[in-house]
Symmetry: C2
Subunit: 455 residues, 2 copies
Amino acid sequence: MHDAPAAIVIHGTLLHTPVFGEVEVLAGALISVTSDGRIATVCPQNSPRHPEILSSAREAGTLTELRPGQYLLPGFVDLHIHAPQWPQMGKALEMPLNEWLQQRTFPLEAKYDDIDFARQSYESLVDNLLANGTTTAAYFGTVHVAATTLLADIAHDKGQRAIIGKVAMDNIDECPEFYRDNSTTAGLDGTRELIEHINAIPNNGRPLVLPAVTPRFIPSCTDEMLHGLAQIVSEYGCHVQTHCSESDWEHQYVIDRHGMKDTQSLDRIGLLTGKTILAHSNLIDDEDMSTIKARASSVAHCPLSNLYFSHSVFPLRKALDSGLKVGLGTDISGGPSPSILHNCQSAIGVSRALEDGVNPRMAADDRGTPESRIDFREAFWMATVGGANALGLKVGQFRQDFEFDAVLVDTGVAGSNLVVWENLDSPDDILQKIIYNADRQNIKNVWVQGRQVRA
Amino acid sequence: MHDAPAAIVIHGTLLHTPVFGEVEVLAGALISVTSDGRIATVCPQNSPRHPEILSSAREAGTLTELRPGQYLLPGFVDLHIHAPQWPQMGKALEMPLNEWLQQRTFPLEAKYDDIDFARQSYESLVDNLLANGTTTAAYFGTVHVAATTLLADIAHDKGQRAIIGKVAMDNIDECPEFYRDNSTTAGLDGTRELIEHINAIPNNGRPLVLPAVTPRFIPSCTDEMLHGLAQIVSEYGCHVQTHCSESDWEHQYVIDRHGMKDTQSLDRIGLLTGKTILAHSNLIDDEDMSTIKARASSVAHCPLSNLYFSHSVFPLRKALDSGLKVGLGTDISGGPSPSILHNCQSAIGVSRALEDGVNPRMAADDRGTPESRIDFREAFWMATVGGANALGLKVGQFRQDFEFDAVLVDTGVAGSNLVVWENLDSPDDILQKIIYNADRQNIKNVWVQGRQVRA
């Protein structure tokens, strides 16, 4: 198959981080993409095959030449988004979690009973995330089956790679009457219906959209619901996504109700699998980390939302050093930005806050947690390779046989805060500047599975 | 004078924060600006004079009608920028302060001996800051008189309100041979030369550009230099800007050398005045706060750079509650963003980190510093009124006789992350969304002293 003519050949500088903490710069490389959207070859400038591939592509009219100042990056992976909270992004961040949920968030999510509202919101969301370079998104929907299947259709039609779940929440003690599953059975049946719907979307054998069993978090679900969802997971082998030990209240709630921590409870029930994404996980201890690692589950680190709703910073470095799979999540709208690059900035920033501490009235030596920081290379790895590993997808780097999910960043856009100085900036500097100051204006093209999804 | 016909009349919704913590929304208001750039009147929609002002302005052709979704905000005040570090913005943030200074920053600043390089960099800087809505900027220059006078000329010509200082640094123990004042006398003479140059720039009696005596920080200056600068301050009555108790190293250095803390030492020397701006000031204690308050000096809080170089978070809330004047600084390039709105986000975020604490392995009650947070209204106040108060300027709010420094934010720009939902967002929500997701695309117009400086 790799000998078939490439559908797209891009010639220019590729920046990616296949190895944690290292930027690989492939200047003047050629990347060839098959007609079904896989990377056929990545040919470095000094390869003997380079001239031939270049001239064939030119002849075939499949060549795209990057201009100076343009860079091809892997597409970004967002491991945690509340799709229905899109209209609330960037507001209500001053509210305590419980008020925020009961007064703002649940009433907003309840509106997705209205399919027209759902369509307007979800189309806006997917368009905006693609424009920000998010080629893969893991979405929590609402309790509504219709709105959530619509989200799956929209993601598929617009060409975004997505993991999508109908939120399960049937515990009448924690969920308001106006917004919860009508019954445990209704929640389970709805979950099955969404999975069947997504699995039936026509695809080329490598589906863009995948279903996820999605208990909101343990407090919102009855034990019957949790066990029912675990049964569904065992039948379909699909992804699982939920919140884990996000805040002090939630962490303690689970201990009080189940006599054990989130990871132990999820594990016992059968919801901790190699395809489980645990959002936040701020309060996990060493034992939890071992459990997560043993099950090959993943963590979605949401650095911006850590500041507003977690009352602490996820011990990212420790998790990475312990061998956990970790990627980044925007947590819209607990986090106020749709951009994974902004979340890279924030992941670096909060890791520094954790390492150095924050309280200036304490002695420097007592203030922080040594060896907690990450740098821009590690943040970018999380935004791409880390997210891909968390979801078990062949994306996030430029490598033969991987999916061609990519972002073209143009550092030469006039009227942008990304200012590159040719004689002063190395390729590593340029990647760091992209992380800190590229915005969606600089993202000129986005491809998912070889399809250009933003012109 | 206020009866003379207005040169500009803008009709639309004004958002500002004249009172700390409160958003004032003036829907359908008329703001009239004199030909010399002052606010003549702010006329609310329900005023009996409204129809007359509106129709006169329409007749005179001086009316600008804001479209739905457009908002007029006060221009932003940036209290701390290292102008020469503009090319370094967004990189080298992973380096420790000392390496960063010696290996990257001093060599970069030394390049401003080349006036062509200085012109290229400073023109780019001022253009970019204006495009981000920064109508007032307090700039550290370099040791070079020529480059720093050029920066003053560029700010004046482009119409940015600016406080500008030639950096004084003559201590051979702390400053490298390739980048320092040639002698104490040279540093003092250069400081005078810059002040005289700026004071001679023709103006309408309300100068746009003002000079500042600018000892880099105590470690970089000899005592002779510090005392000489204080003499200059007493002669010219100009602004002073310096770094204060930014990091553990610097804070201890001053104690070791002078036997007292930064504020005490600056005060004793005569550098703590009602026109002094102290950058960072992370490690100031209650006594320092009293001293700063007694002298009516100000603090430039630089929240983004706190994370990279201060190893702690400035106790902002405590400073505000103690009656200190505090505004925001980007600290380019110790901070990676040119946007005061980004720094509002960060000021909120780091205040939450300080309040809640960051280390999840500590008990919730022991983790943080209660009552440290600010919200978006307070952050916006700091970005406008707080900065204005710090500098003693009549800017930062829409009020008769104040300077017309303003920003037109358009929430309806296609391809922006600022998404407003007409039926769901209140004016306060809109301001919060502007803070979190407006970028320079949304800033359609910028005025300083009534002059449109960005079309």
